[in-house]
């Protein structure tokens, strides 16, 4: 077993529960604490990646480029990563992020659509960035299909490819199958990104490490979409218990989670009834707050909305379908709108 590289994403995936309102001072404090605790990679972006600030996903209170610059200026050792979802963000934003100090880009596509990312991998390599592929909603296709898509990304120049359990719908045995399929197909590193909707983020991450994953994502205090992600401080504790020397300071991370990040958080993501429905129905974790809002507006149970989105096979980023589903459900209940 190898020690995986840990990437903390609480300032990217955690941007969702924060409603994209991280301030420069908050980012500086969190980045400093993570850097001090030995976290090697820190991801900072709008929750939906570069260029995600929008009506569809929510506007950023502070420009993500400014936050990237603050994080970069704060860290002595850690590298700054950004997320880019082709179709949402473009090469234009990637160039700007690199100028502001990002040295790693994680290029995310639906698990079946890797071929939309070729031009972005090309630019990342031209800019001298480390380029990581991020195959979202991986649970929706079998491991062999996801491995084929990972191979495309490797061909475009990816330095690593992640299996992303965006819905937190996988069981540990699934994670092992996906990681092994990618390991068998690729010569570059394999990563895993968990969500905790079924309470398995840490267990799935350990399964991924045991299956040979070389990169694992965590979020300090579990701060991420849906019921959050694998808490970085817990990942660090797991690595200690597995006798894998990670260079992370578990107690410093616990302190950072408790005393630095927790006071900033509007709520602690947990596997509550909506989040469990997300994992159960296999829908995108960021739908959580959007579905809650639509439920309130239309007098519906948000769980009904989430389950119906799963039935319609909504993919990553399809927040606009929530309004559509809510309208349809409301209409079915009350008859046609007047």
């Amino acid at each position: 077993m190898n020690t995986p590289r840990i990437t903390d994403s609480c300032m990217r995936d955690g941007s969702h529960p924060m409603r994209h309102r991280f301030s420069p001072a908050e980012v500086a404090a969190i980045a400093h604490a993570l850097d001090e605790a030995g976290v090697p990679v820190i991801e900072v972006s709008h929750g939906d990646g570069l260029g995600g600030s929008s009506l569809q996903y929510g506007f950023s209170a502070t420009s993500e480029m400014d936050l990237i610059e603050v994080a970069h200026a704060t860290c002595k050792r850690a590298q700054i990563a950004v997320l880019l979802i082709p179709g949402v963000g473009t090469k234009h934003e990637l160039r700007e992020a690199a100028k502001r100090g990002a040295s790693i880009v994680r290029i995310a596509t639906q698990c079946t659509e890797a071929d939309v990312s070729q031009q972005h991998f090309g630019l990342a390599k031209d800019l001298g960035l480390e380029a990581v592929g991020f195959l979202m909603m991986a649970h929706m296709r079998p491991p062999t299909v996801v491995a084929e898509q990972a191979l495309l990304m490797q061909g475009y120049g990816a330095d690593a490819v992640y299996v992303v359990d965006s819905a937190g719908a996988m069981l540990p045995s699934d994670v092992v199958a996906y990681v092994r399929a990618l390991k068998g197909a690729l010569r570059v590193e394999v990563g895993f990104h968990a969500h905790n909707n079924l309470g398995l983020a840490i267990g799935n991450s350990v399964a991924a490490i045991e299956a040979g994953a070389e990169q694992i994502d965590g979020c300090l205090r579990g701060l991420g979409a849906g019921s959050g992600n694998a808490p970085t401080e817990l990942l660090s504790a797991m690595l200690d218990k597995l006798n894998l020397p990670s260079g992370l300071d578990t107690f410093k991370l616990c302190d950072a989670a408790e005393y630095v990040l927790a006071p900033m958080m509007p709520f602690q993501p947990i596997p509550n009834r909506d989040a469990i429905a997300i994992g159960y129905a296999g829908v995108y974790s960021t739908f959580l707050l959007h579905a809650k809002r639509a439920g309130e507006k239309f007098g519906l149970d948000s769980r009904e909305i989430l389950v119906e989105l799963g039935r319609r096979k909504a993919m990553a980023g399809q927040e606009d379908w929530i309004l559509d589903v809510a309208q349809d459900l409301a209409r079915a209940k009350c008859g046609p709108a007047v």
Binding site: Q56, G87, Q318, L323, Q327
Partner: protein, 302 residues
């Protein structure tokens, strides 16, 4: 000489070219498909056209330039090819309707600015997402100002060809510029999502617009519904899902009023299946543009 129909040619024998051919054969109106030209003698598209009795050529644009009676040319090749074709077509006084992302000529949207483009030698169809959403943004901007418009186009994975996939950034840039220049939004953003569900989903579009505090809701709704009817005349599968939703959102300029519209576009199923509304709205819009150009050519000839 007075004309009663206008000869047109299709350049490019892929999905778009083939769908255009079926549309022109089914509902020619004032257009007569005189030539279907590609550059690969063995292409499926050419073979299909031949069996339908259409005159075909594998000499590409040269064949079109030789046929002096062709007045309008649909270019369904690629941006790279169109950049070479555009000056040659223009020098030979052929009207070019460009379905590639090259955009050598001005953007055209049938229900928004077509009448102002009729003296142009070359017009560009923007993108599928643009053809689906710009008309409604334009309709809103006739009633009230739009500080910001945003659209999300979701298309079935199987209906997005290699051109779209390799140029996804160009889709978002071009659509956003179209929303600003033709739609009338001060600032715009476009997002595209490919959905791989089986069976494939119909093309879906969501339009968001930030509008002023005060505006006439009923007039706005009426303008939107009227425009939908106008579009349905050339894209029968175009449909507004539910009524426009009036809401509020937190924006960089404080809490502002928004209008949200959900659209579905089913294709006519001419060549591509009905889920491919994204391709249908491009070819249907191109036919509509050609028909209006043809009306003018016919009128000028009399």
């Amino acid at each position: 000489m007075s004309l009663d129909s206008i000869n047109v040619a299709i350049l490019g024998t892929g999905n778009i070219g083939s769908d255009l051919m079926f549309k022109l054969l089914r509902q020619p109106g004032n257009l007569r498909l005189a030539l279907f030209a590609g550059i690969d003698a063995k292409s499926e598209g050419l073979a299909r056209a031949r069996t339908l009795g259409v005159t075909v050529s594998d000499s590409g644009i040269d064949a079109i330039l030789e046929a002096k009676d062709i007045h309008i040319v649909f270019d369904a090749t690629s941006a790279k090819a169109h950049i070479h074709n555009a000056p040659r077509l223009s020098a030979a006084e052929r009207i070019a309707i460009d379905l590639t992302p090259a955009a050598c000529g001005p953007y055209v949207v049938p229900s928004a600015n077509l009448r102002t483009c009729l003296n142009e030698p070359n017009v560009n169809l923007i993108t599928c997402g643009g053809q689906a959403t710009i008309p409604l943004v334009h309709a809103i901007s006739q009633v009230t100002s739009i500080a910001y418009a945003e659209i999300v186009s979701t298309v079935a994975s199987v209906s997005a060809g290699p051109g779209t996939r390799q140029n996804i950034d160009e889709f978002t840039h071009t659509t956003a510029r179209g929303l600003e220049q033709i739609g009338g939004a001060r600032l715009a953003k476009a997002i595209i999502i490919l959905n791989p569900a089986v069976p494939p989903i119909f093309m879906r579009n969501t339009i968001y617009a930030i509008v002023p505090e005060e505006f006439d809701e009923r007039a706005l709704t009426r303008a939107i519904l009227d425009r939908v009817t106008e579009i349905q005349a050339y894209v029968p599968g175009y449909r507004l899902k539910g009524a426009p939703v009036f809401d509020q959102a937190d924006t960089p300029h404080g809490r502002r009023r928004t209008v949200t519209m959900l659209l579905e576009v089913a294709g006519a199923g001419d060549y591509l299946p009905p889920y491919a509304g994204n391709l249908d709205i491009m070819t249907a819009s191109a036919c509509r543009v050609a028909q209006v150009f043809a009306e003018k050519l016919i009128a000028d000839s009399q």
